[in-house]
Subunit: 246 residues, 2 copies
DNA sequence: GAGGCCGGAATTATCGATAATTTACTTTTA
DNA sequence: TAAAAGTAAATTATCGATAATTCCGGCCTC
């Protein structure tokens, strides 16, 4: 039992101002593939801040290595330091930020080596995933996957890099999500987050067309329900993508 | 530049009391496979709290589903709420805790299904790792691996469950760490953390002996430098372990 | 006596201040 | 004049309070 020191602590009726957050809200157009029931994310100031920071990082607003100052952000968002710090801690654990004791926190710089390793590993994960997909589930989703491939082609033609990137992620993510192992998806996503901040930097139009076509064999072999082969293709796909810009 | 409002903020010479933390320190006998340069961990109150909480969870002091109250812990540690909350956020992102808005945070209950998935995936990861090991590195470490196998046998004989568990983790961890892909190790470790809290619950003496012997074929095939075969064994090893207690 | 409506107690979320530490700059000293 | 030593400013880490929300139990209503 907690000790009953002092008088009664909280007895105020619930009826006050809503927190301001003027500067958080506007920067949250809640577009993007809403990760959860959208409300969930907006419940706490901390969540909104985390979301906003992550968005800015993945958009390249904050560059790798850039220092993020707690009070500066707190001011910008019209909040106090605490929720900013808590958001920092979450993003730090996610591997997006890095902070040193009394020395501030900055956007983590992902080394070339690390990126390569991530792609490498991601390839293997996708291979495993593909091989585990139950054929029933595959049939239900194959149309969606093909549609995403078309979206990529379209985006490549119209030069819509952002749309391309989104469809690309979705393509792979969908395949992984079909495997009956949610842990696998979680791990895959954790790799994805790390790569996203890098991604903004090196997307070229020329590679976009190439990439779009590289997905075709994968779709084909999925349609043939040859999961073994699909797995191999996915693994090699990651590797080739890796070689593109190293 | 930040706005120079009010008077100068901080001008006090650094010379005050060190934080108390009476109740944190004693609960940190800093045993265990010290994760980093031990000092690193002790730098901030938050880190010590996180460490302590994680330890207690993995030791089963806090059970899955148990509610952890911020102020109660803060009192126990003689600190304020803030660092406790920050530690919570880190552990939450790690997947060890789970918290609901205004409803408190509790030790995350890992479902049977999730545990199975984790073991499943871990098996695959170890297979990949084994296949990537450069033979030179293997030669340097094979003696250590064999020693860990001996440690397991010894622990099984003397009924030292804790020692057994540690050697077991180290055995697998060492193998994974030999692969030239640190990301792989990181992912493997993230799975390990999740499983640790469960592990305390279901370790039986009988299975200990069995498990010790199950590692022998792995050691053998490593000594033969047959990485392909080692990988397969590791994968199957995880699967069999999984079947033991489902 | 089942459901709805307070009122208070407990707890989380956030705030505004203070302490501790680093950093950059100035001054001193040899 | 270069190293050392001090000093102020900037920033992080932690604290102690307050606001917001949930939870529980009694009381009323029908």
């Amino acid at each position: 039992m907690p000790k009953a020191d002092a008088v009664n602590p909280r007895t105020t009726p619930a009826l006050r101002r809503k927190p301001d957050l003027a500067l958080v809200e506007p920067s949250l157009p809640l577009e993007q593939t809403a990760p959860k029931a959208t409300e969930e994310i907006y419940k706490s100031v901390r969540d909104r801040i985390r979301w906003t920071l992550l968005k800015r990082i993945s958009e390249g607003v904050y560059r790798p290595g850039e220092r993020l100052k707690e009070l500066k952000l707190a001011q910008e968002f019209h909040v106090s330091q605490a929720p900013v710090r808590e958001a920092f801690r979450e993003l730090e654990t996610l591997g997006v930020l890095i902070s040193e004791h009394y020395r501030g926190t900055r956007v983590r710089e992902i080394s070339n080596r690390e990126t390569q390793e991530a792609y490498h590993l991601r390839g293997y994960l996708e291979e495993i995933a593909a091989q585990l997909i139950p054929l029933e589930r595959l049939q239900d989703e194959i149309a969606n996957i093909e549609a995403l491939q078309e979206t990529m082609r379209g985006a490549a033609l119209s030069g819509d890099m952002d749309g391309f990137a989104r469809a690309n992620v979705q393509f792979h993510r969908t395949i992984v999500s079909l495997a009956p192992n949610q842990m696998l998806l979680k791990v895959w996503e954790s790799l994805e987050i790390g790569m996203r901040s890098q991604l903004t930097l090196q997307k070229k139009l020329s590679t976009m067309h190439l990439l779009a076509e590289l997905h075709q064999p994968i779709v084909d072999s999925l349609k043939l329900q040859d999961l073994k082969q699909t797995g191999v293709l996915l693994r090699e796909h990651s590797f080739s993508f890796l070689k593109e810009w190293t």
